[in-house]
């Protein structure tokens, strides 16, 4: 079932000279995990703002083309309805914290939409287990480490049970351990909850491991969208758009150019190791 459909979307912020989005077309099926990549300034954040109504309701500008969530045109749909479908986690989690404890932070949104005590308690247990934040409930958000803050930010959005979870660079402020724990949470969401996810992320090594589909945005347009393995197989196109695939993919891309890599490009160490050892055995 279709959850997102974008048709020839153009958007210009009122204070900007040029259009940020210049004719975007995008389709996403429910339950899929879509990774969006593109150089800084390509329009990635602007694009996801069009999905939960921040654009055009919060920002001023000129919009052409249409955005559909579950077949509903976002411009003909009340924001409350959009925000109940679409949850957005910002890249800087502090920007979304308002409460003095993590528990209040998680409960705030649920109280706001009028859930009863029992439901709030049940959801609280569910999200804290899923995001491994139960031990943090008493703490003030500003005392948490970067990785903990990011998990709380995800939990507070998940507590609203969105159909579509969007994460804008969820790991950009984290150390390698923090990054991996966030991607473990994301992998669980995908496997256990079947929730639809869109993630903008520069770390392609982590993204390639979990995304079903990938889209490349550059200069306000979707240049290419495909299943993850096929996406990274288009090595030259990615490099031409200043996107650097995982290192093992880059290595195989270089070798393929010189005629030394048969088959598709690997996305992780295991795939690369197997392909290399197989061809070396064959050479023997």
């Amino acid at each position: 079932m279709e959850i997102v459909r974008i048709e020839d979307l153009r958007w210009k912020y009122s204070e900007a000279r040029e259009y940020t989005l210049k004719g975007v077309n995008l389709f996403l099926e429910e339950g899929k995990f879509l990774g969006i990549v593109g150089p800084n300034g390509a329009g990635k954040t602007t694009l996801v703002y069009t999905l939960n109504g921040l654009i055009p309701y919060r920002y001023n500008g000129i919009k052409k083309g249409r955005v559909f969530i579950y077949g509903h045109d976002t411009e003909a749909t009340p924001v409350e309805k959009l925000t109940s479908w679409v949850g957005l986690v910002f890249s800087d989690p502090e920007a979304q914290f308002t409460s003095m404890t993590v528990e209040d932070e998680l409960v705030f949104g649920m109280e706001n939409i009028g859930l009863d005590r029992k439901e709030i308690k049940a959801r609280l247990e569910w999200v804290t287990e899923l995001t491994n934040t139960a031990s943090l409930l008493e703490k003030p958000p500003y005392e948490l480490s970067g990785g903990q803050k990011q998990r709380v930010a995800i939990a507070s959005v998940l507590a609203m049970k969105p159909k579509l979870l969007i994460m804008d660079e969820p790991t950009s402020m984290l150390d390698p351990i923090g990054r991996e724990t966030i991607f473990e949470v994301i992998a669980r969401l995908k496997q256990e909850e079947g929730i639809t996810i869109i993630a903008i992320e520069h770390n392609l090594e982590l993204l390639a491991a979990v995304a079903d589909d990938m889209a490349l945005l550059n200069d306000g347009q979707i240049i290419f969208q495909a299943q993850t393995r096929e996406f990274f197989n288009n090595y030259d196109l990615l490099i031409a758009n200043q996107i650097y695939p995982p290192e093992v993919t880059q290595m195989a891309g270089i070798l393929r150019k010189e005629g030394y890599w048969p088959g598709s490009l690997p996305l992780n160490i295991e795939q690369a190791r197997k392909q290399i050892s197989k061809s070396l055995v064959r050479a023997v």
Partner: protein, 278 residues
């Protein structure tokens, strides 16, 4: 040869009692391009801030070019070691680029003619154009703001430039740009460069020496290829070598070396093995 920065038995506790560094010894030499790595809380940022006297030792000493950081003046320190903050917006506070870059030189009491020379020199080095000088820094894109931040440090002509998380929030292309620029400063102008970072592919590609920290101590210190060839040791600081290095390490039985640092290097090794395996 005397080290340019000589850290001896350095311990540091924050006012709340947290012991962030325990008896650290480190010698930073001329010609170093050094990466300081380790998980959050390992002490790497605290150590980097002790290297130019932003933080003073609780115990032990830090000598910079012979000056003891606990007694040296700010002016003596900033001429020797410059510190570029992770977020350039945390250090930019003037309303135009010229004044931002001129702030340091003015502050150490240079005459305005000399200040102007320094600003122009620093502007050229970082590749900013004259028309940028009158612009409000916040109207520049982040990459250029970072260059303004670096220029304002360069205008003090320090020997050592410390950059905290140079690639955070940048895409890969921007990361390569900023790192190529630091390499140029290192190679052409002889600056000692110290980066504090979590970005292992960047460390592998650019740093000549790696210092690994865990729990307030230095647990490894050596040439980059040497440090990354010991993954078990690195894991004590929850650090992994770059993906391409780990691929090589997973192929040791086929005679791959454990210290491949770059994608191109790995491609060359694979090719050689395919061609020469009889």
């Amino acid at each position: 040869m005397a080290a340019y920065i000589d850290v001896q038995n350095l311990s540091y506790s924050y006012p709340d009692g947290t012991l962030a560094l325990r008896k650290v010894n480190l010698r930073v030499n001329n010609g170093d391009f050094l990466a300081l790595i380790g998980q959050n809380g390992s002490g790497k940022t605290t150590l980097s801030k002790c290297l130019n006297g932003i933080l003073k030792p609780t115990d032990g000493t830090v000598l910079v070019d012979g000056f003891d950081t606990s007694t040296a003046s700010v002016a003596e320190m900033v001429r020797r070691v410059g510190y570029v903050f992770q977020n350039p917006d945390h250090q930019i506070f003037n309303s135009n680029v010229y004044d931002e870059i001129a702030y340091g030189p003015r502050n150490i009491g240079l005459r305005e003619a000399e200040v102007k020379d320094r600003v122009i020199e620093a502007t050229r080095v970082v590749g900013l154009k004259d028309e940028h000088l009158s612009v409000h820094p916040f109207f520049l894109p982040k990459g250029l703001r970072q260059r303004v931040a670096i220029a304002s440090i360069l205008a003090l002509r320090p020997k050592v430039i410390i950059v905290d998380e140079p690639t955070t929030g940048q895409d890969m292309y921007q990361s390569f740009e900023i790192m190529n620029f630091l390499t140029e400063l290192h190679e052409k102008n002889g600056h000692i460069i110290i980066i504090v970072t979590h970005d292992m592919p960047i460390v592998a590609r650019y740093a000549k020496r790696v210092v690994v920290m865990a729990m307030g101590q230095i647990i490894m210190d050596g040439p980059t290829a040497e440090v990354f060839s010991h993954p078990e040791e690195l894991s004590k600081s929850f650090v992994k070598p770059p993906q391409i290095t780990r691929l090589g390490q997973s192929l040791l039985t086929y005679g791959f070396p454990p210290n491949i640092l770059r994608v191109e290097e790995m491609a060359a090794v694979v090719k050689e093995k395919m061609v020469f395996t009889p």
